[in-house]
């Protein structure tokens, strides 16, 4: 389900990255570290490509990461994920959910009757009039143009440029406010004005809307952040020991190289074979582990061991220490004996993966094998 994950990871970036494409970088770094989809070096290349190609940088980054991770479909889904919050966010900002009438608020623009007069429309004023049906109220204000006669666009309105328009079939009727600015039914309207470039509301009415909206937005962001964090640790717990065993076996068999053929992956302790001895060599106890897959050489001419272990609850350190001790003992035994095998033992990689798996890779070309196995385990 890499595609779904790509979509949601980038939707999260789109939701939190306020500002330009540069603001997405820390999120992408975090994403790379958590998912292993790309390294920091990959990211720098992506930034270089995104900055030097046409298109907004953030979109380019999303497309690049998506393609890198999931091919063409990945690129499309990552981009759509990134823009999803933008499309939903502004649309909900402009829609004022007031009394079931949805009204557009914002500067007067093309297609409006008041086009060109530099005035503002404000939506939350819209309300239902039980006698006349829905009434949409536009509060307009334009100090520069509030000359006698109103706006140059010719519509009727009072000197302050405040007017209401009744919504009806091809008819816009202007109704005047009283001089003190009160509405004719003693309701004070919220007037948005542009003066010295700032937008202010005359009374507190619309502040509530703004606050409610920003609060809702903050809440949504917090919930999304929490969901994102809890998803991190939830993944591993969902797998049963049998699934883990199979995952480890497949990951090691597929990526371990030819040495695996001579040392098949051991996943349980059985009577009558080497499995018990193998665990003893590694210093591990069966009860410390939920699941494991181990391929190692018991002959003392090869430094070779690949082990993926899901420790039992709270035993992560015990398991890791055991493997560390094993690694050191291999180094000691090869130090005076086989220089190349000593190097292999010394360079062995031992890490705890993000899903809790303790992974030891001691073999030739350990970096490649390690990366491949990590990828396989994360993909499973």
């Amino acid at each position: 389900m890499i595609y779904l994950r790509l979509f949601f990871e980038f939707a999260k970036v789109g939701l939190f990255a306020v500002g330009g494409g540069l603001a997405t970088i820390p999120f992408l770094q975090d994403m790379g570290a958590r998912t292993g989809w790309f390294t920091n070096a990959d990211l720098t290349t992506m930034i270089a490509v995104s900055e030097s190609t046409p298109g907004p940088m953030g979109v380019n980054m999303a497309t690049y990461v998506g393609f890198h991770t999931g091919g063409l479909l990945g690129a499309v889904l990552a981009t759509l994920g990134l823009i999803a919050p933008s499309v939903i966010g502004p649309a909900s900002c402009f829609h004022c959910p007031h009394r079931r009438r949805r009204t557009v608020c914002g500067p007067v623009g093309a297609g409006d009757h008041w086009r060109g007069c530099g005035a503002y429309l404000h939506g939350p004023l819209a309300r239902r009039d039980p006698m006349r049906g829905s009434v949409r109220v536009y509060a307009l204000y334009s100090p520069e143009k509030a000359a006698p006669g109103g706006f140059h666009c010719g519509r009727r309105c009072d000197r302050r440029g405040v007017s209401i328009l009744r919504e009806g079939p091809r008819r816009a009727v202007g109704k005047k406010f009283k001089k003190d600015g009160t509405f004719f039914r003693n309701r004070r309207p919220t007037v948005w004005r542009t003066r010295r470039g700032s937008i202010k509301s005359e009374n507190g009415g619309s502040h509530f809307m703004k606050k409610a909206l920003s609060l809702a937005l903050a809440l949504a962001m917090t919930v999304a952040a929490l969901a994102g964090c809890s998803g991190k640790s939830g993944g591993a717990a969902a797998k049963t020991p049998e699934e883990l065993t199979k995952l480890y076996t497949d990951a090691i068999t597929a990526n371990g190289g030819e040495a695996v053929e001579y040392n098949p992956v051991v996943t349980e302790v059985k009577e009558g074979d080497d499995s018990a001895m193998l665990l003893e060599f590694l210093g591990l106890k069966a009860e410390d582990m939920t699941a494991f897959g181990i391929s190692m050489s018991l002959m003392n001419v090869n430094a070779y061991a690949i082990a993926a272990i899901m420790p039992a609850e709270g035993k992560a350190d015990t398991v890791k220490e055991a493997l560390q001790t094993y690694k050191e003992s291999q180094m000691t035994s090869f130090e005076m004996y086989l220089a190349d095998q000593y190097d292999i033992a010394k360079n062995a990689k031992l890490e705890i993966l993000e899903d809790g798996t303790v992974l030891l890779v001691m073999c030739a070309d350990q970096d490649t094998v390690y990366d491949a196995i990590v990828k396989a385990i994360q993909a499973g």
Partner: protein
Amino acid sequence: MNIYLDLFLTFAKVGVCTFGGGYAMLPILQREVVEKKGWATDEELTDYFAVGQCTPGIIAVNTATFIGYKYRGIPGGVLATLGVVFPSLVIITAIAAFLSNFADIPVVQHALAGINAAVVALIASSVVKLGKSTLKNGAAITIFLCVLALAVTGNLANFDTGAYGALGTVLDALTSPAVLIVLAGIVGFLLYGRKKGGEGK
């Protein structure tokens, strides 16, 4: 021409002409949307751009959505947005496919190493520029320093739950960018909100 197709194509054109971030987009938008098509006035465009900067999401995408939405409702918003991202999708997919085939060649690798160094410098210069315009008072600088400290700690130390237990989980969450942004938002809301209230009285 169909109005929706027109929206899509116009914004695709804007997308092709935009290099770098959303800031580079403003003059092109101004020419295409205001002068040629008359879908918005100069003032409106500036407003949309300002709102696009402070709402979640990428500026270019936000602005496109705003204009499309204002002009032709929800379908307009969706089509304008798709128009802006369409060229990126095509171009970057082509480049990424191309680059992944050639990335292993030493010559390309060396060139990329050089380019990557330059990118780090460019980002640093953007950071300085942004900082100059943003960090103008004590509150902003305090938030900046706190977030910087947390983010750097998060980068340097990997708080895994195995080594640090429950504290590690908390620290790990605290150093993730999303949480930092939300926290900074809340702190800003409290700090500046109080200040404004004081001035009003």
